[in-house]
Symmetry: C2
Amino acid sequence: MDNMFEPIGESQTLSQRIERKIETAIREKRLPTGSKLPSERELCEMFAVSRTALREALRRLSARGLIDIKKGSGGYVSDYNIKNAISSLLLYYDLKFDKDLILQINQARAMFEPEIARLAAESRTDKHVKELRATIDDLINCNHDDIQAEADLVNKFHAKVTEASGNSFVIISMEPIFSLVPRIRNFIYANIEGEKNNILEKHEEIYASIRDKDGQKAFNAMSKLIDRTNEIYLEHLHKYNL
Amino acid sequence: MDNMFEPIGESQTLSQRIERKIETAIREKRLPTGSKLPSERELCEMFAVSRTALREALRRLSARGLIDIKKGSGGYVSDYNIKNAISSLLLYYDLKFDKDLILQINQARAMFEPEIARLAAESRTDKHVKELRATIDDLINCNHDDIQAEADLVNKFHAKVTEASGNSFVIISMEPIFSLVPRIRNFIYANIEGEKNNILEKHEEIYASIRDKDGQKAFNAMSKLIDRTNEIYLEHLHKYNL
DNA sequence: GTAATAAATTGGTATTACAAGTTGCGATAA
DNA sequence: TTATCGCAACTTGTAATACCAATTTATTAC
């Protein structure tokens, strides 16, 4: 019995209550996307509060990405997009970034990405095929010494495969991974010297499977690729005793 | 050539620049978790700005979950937890919730949950086994008429399985799904009359597999369960032409 | 030393004033 | 008539001051 006696009255501040009222209106679409909010003075009158309190409520909503405020113009209901949605998630991973997270991400990739490749093979459009081809070509032409550029292109390829799955939930879920890769790269300077041809081959195989709409083949190729990549990572982690 | 002429000067407001400065200090751990910020008056002097501008910066940081502000006490660097991180993600799904999202979520579950069950079987602790057992027992004892309670318990079971995987990235990724189930339930009144025994059996099978650390068996059982559930959903969607 | 009390400190709200940017209307010129 | 310019009437952004309410700290009485 932790909370036998809950706090009496509203512990919420005035500006928080205003925030919640406007937020509810937005969630219930009473304020549709893109619509203009009344001016601050008008809202002050409507809520019967000072401009100070109202502005702080608007600042919170703006910080959370629910509204856009333009100086001299006014406030508008934001087109709440994925960027807003995952920005705080990215911040979270940014703060808790460590070796464990890297291992867990690698594990998650091994679990999910083969299935994603399978779905991509079944759902991809011609546009996706073109973009995947272009990415691999860039990778082929990439300077062998530029490890950073190579890693970025590999990352781009995997992001494109995920995009080709057409499942927005999957795309959003994987987004943090592809955003964190640059940081992982700074953490693990795993050299894939002598592996590049092998890696490249597997990417070609994945590409071909998706192009030919062969889900099972895409699954297998992706599975092998991720497993091999994880092996390289683990070897490196052991070698440098991280 | 889209951006031949980039905007001149800082389009950022003063309060946004203050916000960014403090945010950077937090991200770089110069302000460690739990530490107390200087008082508003002090910060005003340090940044040489009015209290108005400073407070709006603090409001933004507070709204984003980076700091906690206690009246009469002061501001503290928040222990930025998962709740903060995924709250905006939940808002996003809340706003774009529709039939398509439900279908994509079901697809994603079919892709991911079997693998999650496999990992759970390999990583689970005794505590997880107990909790899973308790959840199934609740489901058995649940009133057959109370469809809502049943759905909640099934949902809880799947959340617990995910938790047992021990992979925090996976847990966070799946969190939106388990949060959305109540809304899906209101969308689809899929009657599992006559299915309950079948569903229950499969849950028992998953439980036993995880208890016995049989990953492959857990994978198969979860796979069958999700497939059957999706069938029921699709039948319902067709029947009512949603 | 402890507990009650008073004082100082801190965040919350209100008010007023002005700065700075945007919008739209109308006067003016072509 | 049409295009352009400029001004006026908006809008939000920042500043300064004052006071309220909650919390913390210092003081006092026991």
